[in-house]
């Protein structure tokens, strides 16, 4: 996750203190003109819609096992063919999107909350509190999130909740670093000083003044976080420590499909394409937004 | 003037930047002549095109900018249309440049000796190691670096600001150019070191007999160093005269404003007078005089027609409607 490190550091050094306050409207306006953002956003909207509509779509039950229907190639009946248990691959791909997106989103939200609370606390209070929290952040920051998630998942065992937990514990450090940096620079800003002079309470100050100013980098980080979380979730499922069968999951479908690569490649290619498109969508959105938000890229062509 | 041979003649030079948002005209019709053994100062505010003039002369205008009109002649030969390979041989040997901030303009990962050696061996065909080292030491001694052999083996970050600027001067002078362009050579330095560097530069220019184009926003430096001064404003040269003449009889309202803003030695002022208003947006082309919005003497014609360059006294040129057509300032 080296790019993530470089990226986070860049977001940290981002000069918000220059008096340029990036409003959400600003971001939307400039984002609408960025090709990466538009493509990424479109992919995400399509996939989320399909995932949300899965229960009402006229598709087969992803778990119904049909004997005599095993490993059928794609046809008008089964668009993406059937798997080794005679289950409809298309339906399973759609339901997997639901599972993966849920796991990734919940995990990112949880790690974002952990990160925001710890990062703000460390950056705002400074001193001993900061020292202890920063130490913990650095520890988690040292290790690749996948390795951490694997460790926790191996200990907790497979299952939806355990995967979410494992990813959340592994991913919060990035958010915390980001928030700590922002809180540190915001502390010096005038309106925070002024509110402090007026006797505003710490928590109110942090949430009402510091947090709203960090929305922009948080959106970037969250979008990339969802992509990372999908990679981690599907990799864990592939290794057998992620979601548990019969819950459909792209990673899991691929790990069983690998056995039929020679005679039924559709069992692994379709879930793979769906998974990569989703990851690509979130990466594009995150990268594009970062370019939009990074003032260093402004004024340069391309 | 007639007895002197020109080293550099610029006529109607225009440099423009083609941005997505529009075209920015950084230089708009520059006329400038630099004679042999002459030091010419270019003064003006930040962003008026001083440095861009230097980059245009060397044809190093950064992308997406380029020279769109005009001519630049070096000892009679045209540079704007010169073959790129030949242009490269002009750079460094005939026209050389000193950059503003030596701490960013020296390659941080090569040793001083290697950076100097590269330039010397390229232009003087010196490849033999001992001879090359001798030449490097010579040029470092020329800029009064006390321990040239040690400095040679150092990286730029190991040197102080003043030392780095000395190395920069050594780089620029290593191939004895006929024209030296110094772009704010002392701005990045401590005040105490500024004087030393300036003195060194002045001495070296006199010693080598080269001409110098000194870009600065500091009128004190100009008064001390230059024979002639060009005042630039918004991509144009608005006034051009011998230093003494310009300081004594400024004709353009902008020059006059600059001089009032500049406290004379021994004169005590409670406050520096500042010229009101801001520089026009170079993206929007304007028909008239660029200074019109800030000028106290602005007339109707000033916003409609571009003032032409007139010689008000021998060698003193000004581009201002107050002086064109022989009118006196009171007449307007």
């Amino acid at each position: 996750m080296r790019l993530r490190k470089a990226l986070n550091d860049r977001l940290l050094t981002w000069k918000m203190a220059g008096g340029v306050r990036q409003t959400t409207a600003d971001i939307l306006e400039r984002g609408g003109r960025n090709l990466m953002v538009v493509i990424g956003f479109t992919i995400i909207v399509i996939i989320i819609s399909i995932a949300l509509l899965a229960p009402v779509l006229p598709i087969a039950d992803p778990t119904s096992i049909e004997s005599g229907q095993e490993l059928l190639p794609p046809s008008s009946e089964n668009w993406f063919g059937t798997d080794e248990n005679g289950r409809d691959v298309f339906s399973r791909v759609v339901w997997s999107a639901r599972v993966s997106l849920t796991v990734a989103t919940v995990a990112v939200v949880v790690s974002m909350i952990i990160g925001i609370v710890l990062g703000l606390t460390a950056g705002y209070f400074g001193g001993k509190v900061d020292y202890i929290i920063t130490g913990t952040i650095d520890l988690f920051w040292t290790f690749p999130p996948f390795l951490l998630a694997l460790t926790f998942a191996a200990a907790l065992g497979a299952g939806l909740t355990n995967v979410i937990l494992a990813i959340s514990i592994s991913y919060w450090a990035g958010f915390a670093r980001l928030m700590r940096g922002q809180a540190l620079s915001m502390r010096e800003r005038q309106f925070v000083e002024a509110s402090r002079a007026l006797g505003a309470r710490h928590w109110r100050l942090m949430f009402m003044h510091v947090l709203p100013n960090c929305i922009a980098p948080l959106i970037v980080w969250a979008s990339i976080g969802v992509a990372d979380a999908i990679v981690i979730e599907s990799s864990l499922s592939f290794l057998g420590v992620g979601t548990k069968p019969p819950t459909p999951s792209w990673g899991w479908m691929l790990s069983s499909g690998i056995l039929y690569l020679g005679n039924a490649p559709w069992t692994s290619t379709f879930p793979g394409i769906a998974m990569v498109s989703t990851i690509l969508g979130f990466n594009l959105l995150g990268d594009g937004l970062r370019d939009v938000l990074d003032p260093r890229m402004k004024g340069l062509r391309g | 003037m007639s007895g002197k041979k020109p080293v550099l003649e610029i006529r109607g030079l225009r440099t423009q930047f083609f941005l997505r948002e529009g075209i920015v005209t950084a230089l708009d019709g520059i006329d400038l002549t630099i004679y042999e053994n002459e030091s010419v100062g270019i003064v003006g505010e930040t962003g008026c095109g001083k440095s861009m003039t230097a980059y245009s002369i060397l044809r190093l205008v950064p992308h997406p900018g380029r020279i769109t009109a005009g001519s630049i002649k070096y000892k009679g030969s045209e540079l704007t249309t010169l073959d790129p390979d030949l242009m490269r041989s002009v750079r460094g040997t005939m026209i050389s440049m000193i950059f503003q901030d030596a701490s960013t303009a020296l390659d941080p990962v090569f040793k001083i000796g290697s950076q100097l050696g590269e330039v010397i061996s390229l232009h003087q065909n010196t490849y033999e190691k001992g001879e090359l080292e001798k030449k490097i030491v010579e040029v470092l001694e020329l800029v009064r670096i006390a321990a040239p052999k040690e400095v040679m083996r150092m990286y730029p970050h190991e040197l102080s600001g003043g030392m780095k600027q000395r190395v920069m001067i050594a780089l620029a002078l290593s191939c004895s150019p006929s024209l030296l362009i110094a772009d704010e050579p002392t701005t990045a330095l401590d005040v105490t070191i500024q004087g030393q560097i300036l003195k060194l530069l002045k001495g070296l220019v006199a010693k080598t007999g080269s001409s110098m184009m000194l870009i600065t926003h500091n009128l004190g430096i100009v008064a001390e160093t230059c024979d002639r001064v060009c005042v630039m404003y918004a991509g144009r040269i608005v006034e051009d005269a011998e230093t003494f003449e310009l300081f004594e009889h400024p004709k353009h309202p902008y020059t006059a404003g600059l001089l009032t803003a500049f406290p004379k030695l021994g004169e005590k002022k409670a406050e520096l007078s500042v010229i009101r208003g801001t520089v026009p947006d170079l993206m929007n082309p304007f028909k008239g005089c660029p200074f019109v919005d800030r000028c106290d003497n602005a007339m109707g014609i000033c916003s409609k027609q571009r003032p032409s360059r007139v010689e008000v006294s021998p060698g003193h040129f000004v581009s201002c409607h107050l002086w064109s057509g022989g009118e006196s300032p009171d007449g307007g």
């Binding site: 080296r2 690749p144 390795l147 690998i258 | -």
Partner: protein, 313 residues
């Protein structure tokens, strides 16, 4: 050089608490684990008394901090416990790891070499032709490669080179050089994409620097400015993160080894997880964590070596 030495010592001292905390997390894994690992060690239908005797033998009846102390003590002596998996029961975990480690290192080494030999030239190409069709093509490649989880990339490569073209072996078990190409490529491509992007942006940044204009003003040939000066400046920050790449490769190797049945540490982790062989999982993760920490240290040192200003901080 003296400041570099003191910097390295300082960084090494800072790595100690991180190593300690890593061991603590790995130690605590045992408490998170559902079920009792002792059952696996005991003979079938063992009585409560027998189970307790086994617990005593392994010090499992001691308080947690004593157990952690013992765990550390054994660790310092290279003792990672014994395996409780069905196939490897009672074998030393450290022996199992030492056996597998060379294969993982071999895979990582070749993967790393591949990712750099693809990423660096591609990044330079892209930067020098900024905004051209070629540059855009390279950027699309990096986006796609980065969006591919390694197991999916592995499957694709297998489909292409082994199933469709029949050039290479499908699994890594057959040995020989041909079998390492696909897994190393799978491991390397994701990182090649990152290296390309880093190299490209580093090069683009360097080309805009004052010293490049300064060198041009001396009349140096463009080729020399780009391939000598710009390249050396741009490549240094990319090379220094080689240590951080180790972390990336360690995460990736677990998945890639499983896809290709490559008999390294990663594969050992996966099989041990499915066999509930926790001492082996613990041991492997500790070893991998150690590599990550060492990699970070290498990155810090390399960075300080090329940029002396860092040492003072």
């Amino acid at each position: 050089m003296a400041d570099l030495v003191s910097y390295v010592i300082r960084k090494m001292l800072l790595a100690i608490p991180i190593i300690l905390l890593a061991t603590l997390i790995v130690f605590l894994m045992l408490y998170l684990t559902p079920g009792d690992p002792i059952i696996a060690l005991a003979p079938p239908h063992a009585s409560v008394v027998e189970l307790d005797a086994i617990r005593d033998k392994y010090g499992l009846n001691e308080p947690a901090y004593v157990q952690y102390g013992l765990f550390l003590w054994r660790l310092v002596h290279g003792d990672l416990g014994i395996s409780i998996g069905a196939a490897t029961r009672n074998l030393d975990v450290s022996d199992l790891i030492v056996q597998r480690l060379p294969r993982t290192l071999e895979l990582m080494g070749i993967g790393l070499a591949m990712s750099y030999s693809i990423g660096i030239p591609l990044g330079i190409f892209s930067a020098l032709r900024h905004n051209s069709l070629g540059d855009r093509g390279v950027m699309v490649f990096t986006l796609l490669a980065y969006a591919m989880p390694s197991f999916w990339l592995g499957i694709l490569l297998m489909l292409l080179f082994a199933v469709e073209l029949g050039w290479l072996d499908i699994a890594g078990t057959t040995g020989g050089f041909g079998s390492i190409i696909l897994p190393a490529m799978t491991l390397g491509i994701g990182n090649a994409a990152l290296t390309t992007r880093m190299m490209r942006s580093s090069m683009l940044e360097v080309i805009r620097q004052d010293y490049i204009t300064q060198l041009r003003s001396r009349g140096l040939p463009e080729r020399e400015i780009i391939y000598k000066h710009a390249l050396k400046n741009a490549i240094l920050p990319v090379i220094t993160v080689i240590g951080l790449d180790i972390g990336w490769f360690i995460g990736g190797s677990v998945v890639v080894e499983t896809v290709f049945s490559w008999p390294g540490i990663g594969m050992l982790i996966t099989t041990s997880i499915s066999n509930s062989d926790f001492p082996v999982v613990q041991g492997c993760i500790l070893v991998l964590a150690f590599f990550v920490i060492a990699g970070n240290l290498v990155a810090d040192i390399l960075y300080a070596y090329v940029d002396p200003r860092v040492r003072l901080g």
